[in-house]
Assembly symmetry: C2
Homo-oligomer: 648 residues x 2
């Protein structure tokens, strides 16, 4: 099994998942193929929808005498005529729907192995939401026992061990942790269908997050039974990689059409609110008049077009760095999803989510409503403002929201103010306090909010501003006549550039970083075209470059040396195993499997110091993973090396 991260946003990720029948890009959707009733063949699905992987039910095949004999001879790939990866389910869901089923849990795993399934599933114990905690505890015990036994029978089949635990979040974590110790390859989150059927999305969020907390982050996670695109964006943002859909066929049989915002009965529609090939070929009334089997086929196709388009939309959002925007937009179309999103406001969940959230994004942050202010990246920004911003003077002048960047917009007044007094300059923005020194840094400059803000955001940003300014003297700026007591008799020259680079380095690398970096003769080189800071030298040594895209620093090896001297181990470090050191010294990037240890505060896209086991600085680079990922992934890059340290 090979599984590696290729892109990321929120706690979501684009990965390559490799099986003996080929490689699949995740997040992805596996349509359910019912061998008794193939509506659209997997081959056709591949051609029409780009389907890469399907799921079928080994229990149903096993119970069907003819199929059972046949599949043992020809294998599951020929049985359903598909040469891509096939996952098989084990009958757990049948046991939930129909009660006890007569199959031995280990036999069904062996059967899956014998028929050549790429990913076979343990016959786990379905944890219903209405179970008592005792029942749920008993269930996960049995699930773990069966999973262990199954692992010893898997051979070259990849094994899916399902996390259960009903709605008891501690049991979910516990089950996930235990299963992560087993030699498994794939982790479904199970027992969630009844939650989705009853739109209990808040509970669903709890189940996903607690399962993810306990799971090995280097394995794919599958939200078992989730086939409606409505919850795909949120589930992906919380770290789910796979979905399976029987919904496309089930809804089609019921004359219902799936849409990203919900489900509609064909018979309620006068017009088809969709641009898929089915909905552009037929009008609503033409569709309604189709012969039954053709109608079901067309509706199933529509449902799959929509479902796969949503998957592409999600992957596209991850690439563009606006997955949260998509999640929030979708939630705005369903009140229960909005409730679920509120679960992410609790601090514990924010802290967990923040560990996955890249340091900045390709695209501006867009406001969608009162959830935006609670995004993990804004939580991080506020935390850093409160803890890392050190340029505080006695007095702060507060400006109202204005055009961005604020320091340019307000520049005529700033000059006047700073002549009189050395003060902090701050914008009371919808995002919270924005010191002028940070006004080009993501997300302050790269965010789009409406002029009129909702009350939640307004209160939240006020709260942070109050905390930020606690005990300081405040002057509210009204116009150019805002009066300031004169600080000194003669005019003074404040070096705003130095203040800016100091504030940004502290925010980005931690308290004290500016002291460590700017401890010598500083030369700031600006872009001739834009006038913006580009490169910084300390005693002729190139230490930093500022990125135009997000107003943050790229660390040069010169700067890395200063930070390495100043910050104690393990801060900012990624520690490389001895065996990989020669490669790093050649400038190669760092593969996850060679990472020995890592600063737990490093987050994706952070600048980092690459060191050997004796903490000698080897190079500087940019993290692609966080600590837990670096230590668990066996494939893919952990750090992109930028510059190596020359021998001194």
């Amino acid at each position: 099994m090979k599984f590696e991260i290729k892109g990321r946003d929120a706690a979501g990720r684009i990965c390559k998942f490799t099986t003996k029948h080929g490689t699949v890009t995740t997040p992805n959707l596996m349509p359910v193929i019912n061998p008794n009733k193939i509506l659209i063949s997997p081959k056709e699905m591949k051609k029409i929808f780009g389907t890469e992987m399907v799921i079928t039910n080994s229990y149903i095949i096993n119970k069907h005498k003819e199929y059972k004999e046949k599949v043992l001879k020809i294998g599951v790939h020929r049985l359903i005529d598909f040469d891509g990866p096939i996952m098989t389910d084990s009958g757990t869901f049948q046991s939930y729907v129909y009660g006890d089923i007569d199959i031995d849990p280990i036999e069904i795993v062996k059967f899956q192995r014998d028929i050549g399934s790429d990913v076979g599933t343990v016959l786990d114990v379905f944890g219903k939401p209405d179970q008592t905690k005792k029942e749920a505890e008993h269930g996960i015990k049995e699930t773990i026992k069966r999973s262990k036994k199954s692992a010893s029978e898997k051979d070259d089949m990849l094994l899916a061990c399902t996390v259960q635990g009903s709605i008891y979040l501690d049991l979910r974590v516990k089950c996930a942790k235990e299963l992560s110790k087993i030699d498994a390859d794939f982790y479904p989150i199970g027992g969630v269908v009844p939650l989705m059927e009853n739109q209990r999305y808040s509970d669903l969020v709890g189940c996903i997050i607690s399962s993810k907390r306990g799971l090995d982050p280097s394995k794919p996670v599958h939200l078992f039974g989730a086939g409606h695109p409505l919850i795909f964006p949120l589930a992906v943002a919380l770290g789910c990689d796979f979905f399976d859909s029987s919904a496309y066929a089930k809804y089609a049989n019921d004359r219902r059409m799936i849409f990203p915002w919900g489900t509609e009965r064909l018979d309620d529609l006068n017009e088809l609110p969709c641009c898929c090939p089915v909905c552009t070929k037929f009008t609503a009334s033409e569709l309604k008049k189709l012969e039954k089997s053709d109608l079901i086929l067309q509706l199933a196709k529509h449902n799959l077009y929509i479902s796969f388009a949503e998957i592409k939309k999600i992957r596209s959002a991850i690439s563009e760095g606006n997955l949260w925007e998509l999640v929030e937009r979708r939630a705005n179309s369903n009140p229960f999803l909005l409730d679920a999103l509120k679960e992410l406001r609790n601090t514990e969940n924010k802290i967990w989510l923040e560990k996955f959230e890249p340091i900045s994004k390709n695209k501006a942050l867009f406001y969608t409503g009162d959830h935006t202010i609670h995004r993990p990246i804004i939580y991080r920004t506020h935390k850093r403002l409160l803890n890392r911003y050190e340029q505080l003077f006695d007095t702060t002048v507060i400006f109202p929201e204005g055009n961005k960047p604020y320091s340019t917009y307000y520049s005529p007044y700033v000059k006047e103010i700073l002549k009189k007094k050395n003060v902090n300059l701050l914008v009371h923005s919808h995002l919270g306090p924005v010191p002028f020194e940070l006004d080009e840094m993501y997300p302050f400059a790269q965010s789009v909010f409406p002029k009129n803000i909702d009350k939640e955001t307004d209160e939240e940003s006020r709260k942070i501003i109050d905390e930020f300014l606690l005990g300081r003297k405040i002057i509210l700026w009204k116009d150019s006549r805002t009066s300031l007591e004169t600080d000194v008799s003669e005019e003074r020259k404040i070096d705003m550039d130095l203040r800016r680079i100091s504030a940004v380095t502290d925010m980005q690398f931690g308290n004290g970083a500016s002291k460590a970096l700017f401890n010598g003769k500083i030369k700031i080189v600006k872009s001739k075209k834009t006038g913006k800071i580009r490169n910084i030298y300390c005693d002729r040594n190139h230490i930093l470059s500022m990125r135009a895209s997000d107003g943050m620093f790229t660390l040069k090896i010169g700067g890395a040396c200063f930070l390495h001297d100043f910050f104690k181990y393990p801060k900012l470090r990624v520690v490389i195993r001895e065996v990989a050191v020669p490669f790093i010294k050649e400038g190669k990037s760092v593969f996850a499997k060679f990472v020995e240890d890592c600063d737990s505060a490093l987050i994706p896209l952070d600048e980092c110091l690459i060191v050997n086991e004796k903490d000698n600085l080897l190079a500087v680079g940019r993290c692609l993973l966080n600590k837990s990922e670096m230590l668990s992934f066996n494939y893919g890059l952990a750090v992109k090396t930028r510059e190596i340290k020359k021998r001194s």
Copy 2:
């Protein structure tokens, strides 16, 4: 010209618009056909996208020597090879882009007429947003003058007179009023392209509403130059019927793809987040590799697929009664649109919008965010609660949000409470106060809100509750032990059914309606299956039926007689011209052209009394139009007659 309303929601409408070249369903989109550069022929558009009407530019044709000669011989339909309705533009936009153009305003109208245009456009004066008021005033004067002159030249061509006035809302109203006096057939709202280009959607909303206020409501309204689906839902909700798109081609030329939530550069996309036939046929990288002209064609097709799907989505939302949900969802994806939506919160706009808002909808009201509480239908509900609810006792017991219907959910406690004391029972819901008597009435029962509400909605609903309970004694219900002073020594029987039917009739028909209707021996017949109130008799006379769908009353002729006696003219009346009386007496429905007068408080789907000019009651029916529409439309139904009054 024939234009009639077939369906409606918000201030939006589904209409049939008839020209000499056929009938078009609105809202609709007219792709712009540039005769110099036909990317996709109108014929093909009709086949692929179901395009019903196109727009082309008579100024460009006129300036092109070869085309000019040809079109005068064969007509515009043969020139661009399209047998459906064609609108022609006049060169106004060219004058905005290139400055003065050398064509006589009347000549170009005659030219349009002579080439057989179905809808020809006056060469009006483009009102730029940065004009002074004086300039704008001068502009509309000239526009009105040219429109008047043009009208005398139109013959059988339908004439489009464009509303201008820059961003001066009083000038928009004035211009619209003046143009409505002219013999015109079609009203574009002009001068808005620069607003849309700069995402000044708040200003756009002002321009649309003020133009609509001044315009004859029986004519189609076209948002000139609006081709991006992002603003279609809001524009339709404010009463626009037509859009035109050159965007599909312009964006395609620029390698940009249109989506309902905005625009994306093809080169930024790794995956195509769409299910249209183009995006399901090609992957992003395949598309990028296409030969230039083919790429432009494919992108143009994608853009039209998306644009027409949005039109279908809007029409579908009107049919289902959830256009506001669509508008709000779209706005959530663009902060400037969110700002625009806030414009609708001002009371003047709420009052205007409420006149078009049907009394109830087919589908439940869905919360999408903090805009929902400001919808016109909730504004109306609050207004009626404050003015029409008369069942107030000294003491009110307030229950928290619960399952719906509330009276069933809280029934065990209600019985106990009412034994002790005659009080009001009220739920403090997210929607505001809900008296138990009204808990089955739209939108109280037919609405879906999240459990955790945003701060704006919370404050707004508290405000209404405070106003509703002003000066009353309040008891907050906590549990079954909530203490109530005993009112009377013995047990009492409160007739909750009578309270319910009284409260609903007052809310629906106005103060005093319950007194008028229930002035005799009342018999309430309930459904055996659901236990809900179905029919009401007064002295054996069937007066009302309650609709299960919205918990409101259908008025029977018996009840209509009582209300006719009780309420003075013109309350609840639709007055029919003498010539139509015989048809009404036969039970035929009322066509708009036969309406002489009407109660201005009647709104779409209201129950109404159909009377003759002497105010004799003829029948009872259900309004399809509001007063201003009834008095201006020449086609279509105004009232659906339900029951006629038998001769007494």
